[in-house]
Subunit: 246 residues, 2 copies
Amino acid sequence: MDVVLVSPRNPLNIGAAARAMANFGFRRLSVVAPYAPMWREARSAVGAPEILLKAAETASLGEAVAGATLVVGTGTLTYRKPEQAVVSLPDLAPRVEQELARGGRVAVVFGPEKHGLTRDDLSYCHILVEIPTDARQPSMNLGQSVAVCLYELATRANSGAEPDMRDAELTAAPSGRLELLAGVVEETMRAAGYSPRTMQAANRHDLRLLLRRLGLPERDLRRILGLFRHILWRLRHASEGGGKTN
Amino acid sequence: MDVVLVSPRNPLNIGAAARAMANFGFRRLSVVAPYAPMWREARSAVGAPEILLKAAETASLGEAVAGATLVVGTGTLTYRKPEQAVVSLPDLAPRVEQELARGGRVAVVFGPEKHGLTRDDLSYCHILVEIPTDARQPSMNLGQSVAVCLYELATRANSGAEPDMRDAELTAAPSGRLELLAGVVEETMRAAGYSPRTMQAANRHDLRLLLRRLGLPERDLRRILGLFRHILWRLRHASEGGGKTN
């Protein structure tokens, strides 16, 4: 299981997140676009956990979760309307367990301290998880929120089960493959004459959410990708030589 | 449910503990023998939670848990041999729920950052709870440990059930009553001629653990207390007037 911190700011929180990972036996940490001085400070702290020193650093969340087949976004949903399924933390384990059992890879994503994950960040998430907190004080400290989520998953999502390899073809396609497909679909739309105005950021956003809702296994993704590439080729071919045959 | 912090040192940890309490809907905090300057700093921090301002301050753990019928000690048990039952955190909720359902009062006790609860602190605990952590990094940060324990109890120990009042007499006696009984038993032992050498701290320690193991309901405690008081009276009476009748 991967833990991903998006733009964490407070070195103490970064350290606390890494500490919680070590406590609950998690090893892989990715940090997306960290604030450079704070990130340096957290890593150079005396006794900084090995996890911090080995953490992957990426410029975008898309890169950080490219290999994940189930991306779980965290945060308080009090002030926003979620665009995908929301699971309460005590109900998350069976979903994660199932994903791990069929050979998938799970990433749990935590947003920056002040405002949490942005709408764009959330579009990379298959599901959102909510820690059931008191309505009067719903917002948790980052380090504590990481600890609570990892405790729950470590104790209740049994990852010890051998992945069922017969299901490999049926495993959900990883996030990076979905992005590839989204890119080809967009290219196809442009080639099909969609105006640039309707092809703005909002479309990639909705497309991302749609592809994750489908839960496409790699086998189906490959077919759909092939289909769109074929259409794309046709569209380009048609526009090049269109005048001659018709 | 009460949260008790024994001699917390780091104001950030004190603040984090109070924050976690607010997140999970806990209201009553007791702080035992805090380090005065840090305690002042934590309470005067900008935005200090109301919980901190209203926290009870006691000189001893005995006072802090006097009203509790189930005292749960927390901490890593890697380096010590526990003297009472140990429950893994994911299994704690049913025990706490049962206690609350029969009208009992539960206190969860957290030790100081450096060394955790002392042997003497632990003698006030009916059970110990262990957070299942990785053997390579078992020791948790105080604020995170509070968050994880309170998350577990808030989501899985349903305290909404109405206490069953028919059971009031069968509810375990609160910690303060057990201390009273321990005192009377010791007095009786002295009156019965036990030498002061055998009456040292170790005895009170063992007596405390023994009384908590029994899980005495108030009704039985009252009887036993009456019995010992009677014996005590007799012993004193006998030694005063012993020469006359025998």
